[in-house]
């Protein structure tokens, strides 16, 4: 049993490493273009909504807390607390996705989706478009991870309610927690890199 737990934990961490490298390719693209076109990056970041980004950061940090507490509940065998905390985590996840959706909708209607319909009035629209491409791609990939995370947490919550996990067996809860925190961590970097470049936020 112990061996199985350790194997699962090591496997999960290795998986998260592949995730780091997966996001890493885009961070590399981000860094190269930001280095080459700093003005375009500032102009792009000015179009970001500071408050949406900040509130979402707060939401995700809260969800991480509830997730960490959920894993703890599993460790000490408090089934009811585990289920409730997992559901709260899911709710935070949904709030995040909702805000993200509103934000995406705004960018969409303002023609800030890269492609033939992209419009930007300022200078160097071309590279502002690359900023927006990376914004959509990075946050989109992150949102996809969030979505998967919410679904997985949902299943885990269901199985917890059915009493599958307890103090002696909680690998899946723990690994889901690791995944959730990882996704949170990606956002911790995305937030300053996308929202906080410009010093002139609206609001």
């Amino acid at each position: 049993m112990e061996q199985q737990r350790e194997s699962a934990e090591l496997g999960m961490w290795l998986f998260l490493i592949t995730e780091i490298m997966f996001f890493g390719g885009m961070f590399c693209a981000y860094m190269v273009y930001r280095y080459m076109y700093p003005m375009a990056w500032e102009a792009g970041s000015e179009q970001m909504d500071f408050w949406f980004g900040t509130i979402n950061t707060v939401v995700l940090i809260c969800s991480s807390l509830t997730m960490a507490l959920a894993v703890r509940s599993a460790q000490v065998g408090q089934r009811k607390a585990l289920v409730i905390l997992l559901i709260i985590t899911m709710l935070f996840g949904c709030v995040f996705m909702g805000i993200k959706g509103v934000e995406y909708y705004g960018h969409w209607t303002e023609h800030q989706f890269p492609g033939p319909n992209f419009q930007f009035a300022g200078p160097d629209a071309q590279h502002v478009q690359i900023f927006f491409f990376l914004y959509w791609a990075m946050t989109g990939l992150h949102a996809l991870h969030m979505l998967i995370g919410i679904i997985v947490v949902g299943f885990i919550a269901y199985w917890s309610w059915r009493g599958k996990y307890g103090a002696d067996y909680y690998n899946p809860v723990e690994n889901t927690g690791l995944y959730w925190h990882f996704v949170d961590m990606v956002w911790i970097y995305l937030y300053p890199l996308l929202y906080l470049i410009s010093h002139k936020h609206a609001g």
């Binding site: 934990e9 940090i61 991480s64 103090a167 936020h201």
Partner: protein
């Protein structure tokens, strides 16, 4: 089961620290520090990430040393990707 169980208080403390750091980074971003802006933002983000990894993800109490090796090597290879790519872009201006 050798897993370490942290206290609720610790988790809440970490959460509070993360919230404070979020407020700090958001506030600092309104001040133009020139090139230092990006550095400050990244330092704060890395601090937050470390808090998450060490406490929420429990790496501080992890039973297998291997986990730490895995994480460090992952970050190391990400660093290689970023640094060696920039080695090209950063030195293109030199003739």
């Amino acid at each position: 089961m050798s897993a370490h169980i942290a206290t609720k208080k610790l988790y809440v403390g970490i959460w509070a620290a993360l919230m404070v750091l979020t407020v700090v980074t958001a506030t600092v971003s309104r001040i133009d520090l020139g090139a230092a802006s990006a550095a400050v933002a990244l330092i704060i983000a890395t601090t937050k990430a470390l808090l998450v990894v060490l406490f929420f993800m429990g790496v501080k109490y992890v039973s297998q040393k291997m986990t730490i090796v895995v994480i460090v090597s992952g970050v190391f290879f990400l660093g290689i990707l970023l640094v060696l790519s920039m080695a090209d872009y950063g030195s293109r201006a030199f003739k």
